[in-house]
């Protein structure tokens, strides 16, 4: 969010007054000097092509000091119950603000102070409505000059609400949206609430949709979109249940509660007049709930109590006794969405019975549901059911004396995989290959006459599908264990070249996943094969070097001393390395950058509260941040998230910046920069990491000026959002050169 310049200079004055407030009142006269001393003197303006260097208006500091003093005095009077006197102090001070632009800060600050005074006193002895209206007047005055001042907008909305006049918020929010496009999503949400309160659901929806576009990971807008449809249902203007079903499907993964609401609203809109759509919504609703763990009788209370449909009666019977299965003529069996729901419910109910030790009942539930799986059922729910059955027969052969049940389930798994391939559903395809591969590993079945019925084929295809997901979604999965298992399979079946290649990638994947023991183990396996004539010496040498360095760093990290001279020089040598294999698929492609990020970050141990980081630590933290900021390194695992947090803390600490730590958000469509991909050990997709603008600017300053200059200039530098303020230049500094360096590092604005 942009920060209007008018407020910037008051912040320094506030800090000074906060300090002065701790002193006895007699010393209040000294406040002005304190503020003046804090306020940087005006500097010579320097211009470069991309960096705008501004000077503060002279004689400004004295005015702002008087403003803050007035507010402080009024606050004291207010706390003593002298509201009229406080109001008088603020009003007088406001009347003394300079006219025009020069007095804008002064007027704003005092208008807010007056509004705050009136609002705080409303309902505490003073006539409530009178006080609220006075407060509204002050905030409105402020907003007439700065329409997007968030706290004033918020306070004004509260007041209008309390006065029972919500419609007055409409122009306020419209102006705020126009004035601050970066915060428009938040204002759109508030404006939508106003329109909903005014019974204008369509206008409210338009605004909520805007809010949802601006903040794709925030559920507040999505939740309210459903409300607008519910409002239409109550008004009997018939929302389109098909649209609600579409929204439910779109939101299932990111906003499960809203997806459920959307389905239930669709059911309510359809169940009386369009049975088919109502039942489709019911099936999707049931599947959605079952995917979240389970669907119980309790959940059925959410459905219309007067809905008397056979499909609902069938569901009640099934939940009561799933071992009996469901009839082939039931809508749950004939409708695709119904089958998906039933399979998911069956998986959960069968597991409950297995957990209770009742193998026969678990088998009956799963077999009953398995019979529903159609010839062309491309769903991960079918996979889960089939895997449960295959695992049951593998671990309880007494249920499958002649092995025919396992074979039959295996066939069904292949058919399901074929359907997923036909649908190009990469996530489900990968799950099928993984599940089958691990099942065959468990049974020691590496190969077979039909090669697909062996672990090698399935694991290889699981990994190649993961590669396709990397290409399609940017989702890197190291999958080190699968790679090691596949390499084991190659070795056991005599394919030593395949084993060598795969162990090398397993070693890289283990290093990416921070499992150094796994990397050591697979590198040893590579060496054993190399001795047997495998080759690949260069790759082995590179991996051994990285592994050695990382192990030494791990040991040194334990001592909290930072890198030794020898280690430091080896780390420095990595800084200038060019990337190789940029076109290769991971774990080979991008491996160097990912490892350099880890090494640089590990060479920058956590700072202490009292000691500034050394130049070496700061250099390595800057290098690590630079690698990820420039978008070249995917973060792999929670270890990398911790590294990012740490190096950010070092960099912002050195510059005296306060910034939120990196924040992980779900990978949402339409996500905007600055975000980094984070790969966690799940198979559903990447998460994203948001880095605060202050941290990004701090990294740019460090990379632009270098650690030596940053450590010398740190007390004079301030960072706000994407702007840098230099309070005082040291003798001999070339301001033009400084500005150019910052500009080339990507800093957008420098104020001196």
């Amino acid at each position: 969010m942009s920060r209007p310049a008018v407020w910037g200079s008051i912040l320094a004055a506030l800090a000074a007054v906060a300090a002065a407030e701790a002193a006895p009142p007699a010393k209040a006269a000294g406040q002005s000097a304190a503020v003046q001393a804090e306020t940087p003197p005006a500097q010579t303006a320097v211009q470069s092509e991309t960096v705008q260097v501004e000077t503060a208006p002279p004689a400004y500091a004295a005015g702002q000091s008087a403003t803050v003093q007035a507010e402080t005095r009024a606050g004291r009077l207010q706390s003593e119950g002298k509201v009229k006197e406080a109001e008088q102090v603020l009003s007088t001070a406001r009347s003394e603000c300079a006219p025009g632009e020069a007095g804008k800060d002064c007027r704003h600050y005092l208008d807010y102070s007056l509004g705050y005074l009136y609002q705080s006193k409303a309902g505490t002895g003073e006539p409530r409505d009178v006080m609220l209206r006075s407060a509204a007047g002050s905030y409105e005055k402020l907003l007439s000059e700065t329409p997007a001042h968030g706290p004033s907008v918020d306070n004004l909305l509260t007041i209008y609400r309390e006065l029972g006049e919500p419609e007055r918020a409409v122009p306020v929010l419209q102006h705020a949206m126009e004035a601050d496009p970066e915060a428009a999503g938040g204002y759109a949400l508030q404006l939508g609430d106003v329109y909903l309160a005014l019974s204008q659901p369509e206008e409210a929806r338009r605004l909520y949709e805007k809010a949802a576009r601006e903040s794709p990971s925030d559920e507040a807008a999505v939740q309210r979109i459903v409300l607008t449809y519910q409002a239409e249902t109550r008004a009997a203007s018939a929302p389109d249940p098909g649209e609600l079903i579409r929204l439910g499907q779109e939101w299932e993964k990111r906003f499960p509660a809203s997806a459920r609401e959307a389905y239930e609203t669709a059911i309510r809109a359809a169940y009386r007049k369009d049975a088919w759509t109502g039942e489709r919504a019911l099936a999707l609703w049931a599947a959605h709930l079952a995917r979240g763990g389970s669907l119980t009788m309790h959940d059925l209370k959410s459905l219309p109590a007067d809905w008397d449909t056979q499909m609902l009666r069938d569901l009640r019977s099934y939940l009561a006794k799933p071992e009996s299965g469901i009839g082939q003529e039931s809508r749950w069996a004939t409708m695709r969405e119904g089958r998906v729901a039933l399979l998911l419910i069956a998986v959960a109910l069968g597991r409950e019975r297995l957990e209770g030790g009742d193998l026969q009942k678990a088998e009956a539930v799963w077999q009953g549901a398995a019979r529903l799986i159609g010839q062309r059922e491309p769903s991960s729910s079918a996979l889960e059911l089939q895997i449960e059955l295959a695992s049951l027969y593998s671990s309880h052969p007494e249920l499958d004396a002649d092995g025919q049940k396992f074979l039959s389930t295996e066939m069904e798994l292949f058919r399901g995989k074929g359907n997923a391939i036909a649908q190009a559903d990469l996530e489900t395809i990968q799950r099928y290959h993984t599940a089958l591969g691990l099942l065959y590993v468990e049974r020691g079945q590496w190969e077979s006459k039909g090669s697909a019925r062996g672990a090698i084929f399935q694991l290889r295809h699981a990994l190649s599908t993961a590669d396709k997901r990397w290409q399609a979604e940017g989702f890197y999965q190291p999958l080190a264990k699968l790679r090691e298992l596949l390499a084991d399979g190659y070795r056991k079946t005599g394919d030593l070249a395949g084993a060598l290649r795969t162990y090398l990638n397993a070693c890289r994947a283990y290093l990416d996943a921070d499992d150094l023991r796994g990397a050591e183990r697979t590198l040893a396996a590579v060496r054993a094969l190399t001795l047997a004539g495998g080759g690949e010496e260069t790759a082995v040498k590179e991996l051994a070097g990285i592994l050695g360095l990382r192990m030494e760093l791990t040991k040194e990290k334990g001592t909290m001393q930072g890198a030794s001279a020898d280690l430091a020089s080896r780390i420095d040598a990595l800084a200038g390395l060019a990337d190789s294999d940029t076109s290769a698929l991971p774990p080979q492609g991008g491996f160097g950058r990912r490892q350099r990020f880890k090494i640089f970050a590990d060479a920058a141990p956590s700072p202490t509260l009292t000691v500034l980081p050394s130049q070496t630590v700061l250099t390595n933290a800057g290098r690590a941040l630079d690698l990820v900021m420039k978008g070249g390194a995917t973060l792999v695992g929670a270890g990398d998230l911790l590294r990012l947090e740490r190096v950010q803390k070092i960099v912002i600490g050195a510059l005296g910046v306060s910034a939120k730590g990196p924040e992980v958000v779900p990978g949402a469509p339409g996500a905007v920069e600055p975000k980094l991909a984070l790969s966690l050990p799940t198979d559903t997709g990447p998460a994203l990491v948001e880095v605060s603008p202050e941290a990004i600017t701090a990294a740019r300053v460090l990379n632009g000026l270098g650690p030596d200059t940053v450590l010398r200039a740190r007390l004079e530098l301030r960072i706000r959002g994407d702007s840098v303020i230099l309070y005082k230049a040291a003798p001999g500094w070339d301001l033009k050169d400084l500005a150019d360096k910052l500009a080339s590092a990507g800093v957008e604005a420098l104020n001196i």
């Binding site: 969010m1 705050y116 004033s152 409300l227 309790h298 499992d515 911790l642 799940t682 559903t684």
Partner: protein
Amino acid sequence: MAIRMLPAGGLTLAILIADPCALSAAERSIVQVSFAVAEPLYLDQLTAAEKRTIEQGVTGLLLRKLEDEIPFLRFAAGPADRKLQVRLGTPDASEERAHDVNLYLLLSGSNLEQATKEWKFRGRATWDDAITDPQAFRTEIETSLGLQKFSSVIRGLFERIAVAGEGESIHLPEWDIAWLLPFKQTELCMAPHSRVRLITEVQTTYNPNEPLELEADTSVFATAPREEQKGRILCLPDRAQDLSLVSGRPPEVVKVKEVYVLKFIKMASGCKPPQPPAAAAGPGGGQ
């Protein structure tokens, strides 16, 4: 409590049997929160101290997240009648067989039917990735939990906990009956259109010792109409509900016994008191 269902209208009528957990104060109910690493394979890789550190840290995160996302209940690590146990690993998790590893949520308490939910933590292909750094493992758990929304388990879990044990019934010009909750809107940060289920006890003249019970689903309206009620949450019943049991009865014989939140919509702004001038120096687009 025995409940006799009425055939239609979303209304439940019952003979009341005293509930030992009935709440009496206008305080939000407390839920005890705990976290445990329970996946057998991970237990083998952690020392007791590492496990304890992870569990304490994640419990702290859960408490903060729950307080923020579910402000209509209170959450504490200390003992309470209602318990939310979050476990890494389902009760049936095997140490030998590859499987998805889930975060398993179990809500329990006296007079509360157990309810569970699951969130995916790791897939089958990575379930046994080694724990090489307990701190990174804790971050992985916290990140995974951080990506989940507790709003998605209000239905199914938190809707089962009575948030309060009292309330007031009132008559409004256009409504036979409406209810005031014992909370201000800003206390719960609850926006209009949130949904609340009220269990109401109705005194009858023909059998004064056995009051009837009414279950009514209501929507939160903005604010209460009378000056002295301003700010308290006003609940209006669904128009479709059959309220003949309470229609026309004086408010004093219709007492709210339990309040359940079915759907929570957080206010977009106005939850917190106005910021003092010093704090409001920077702009912001809402809370």
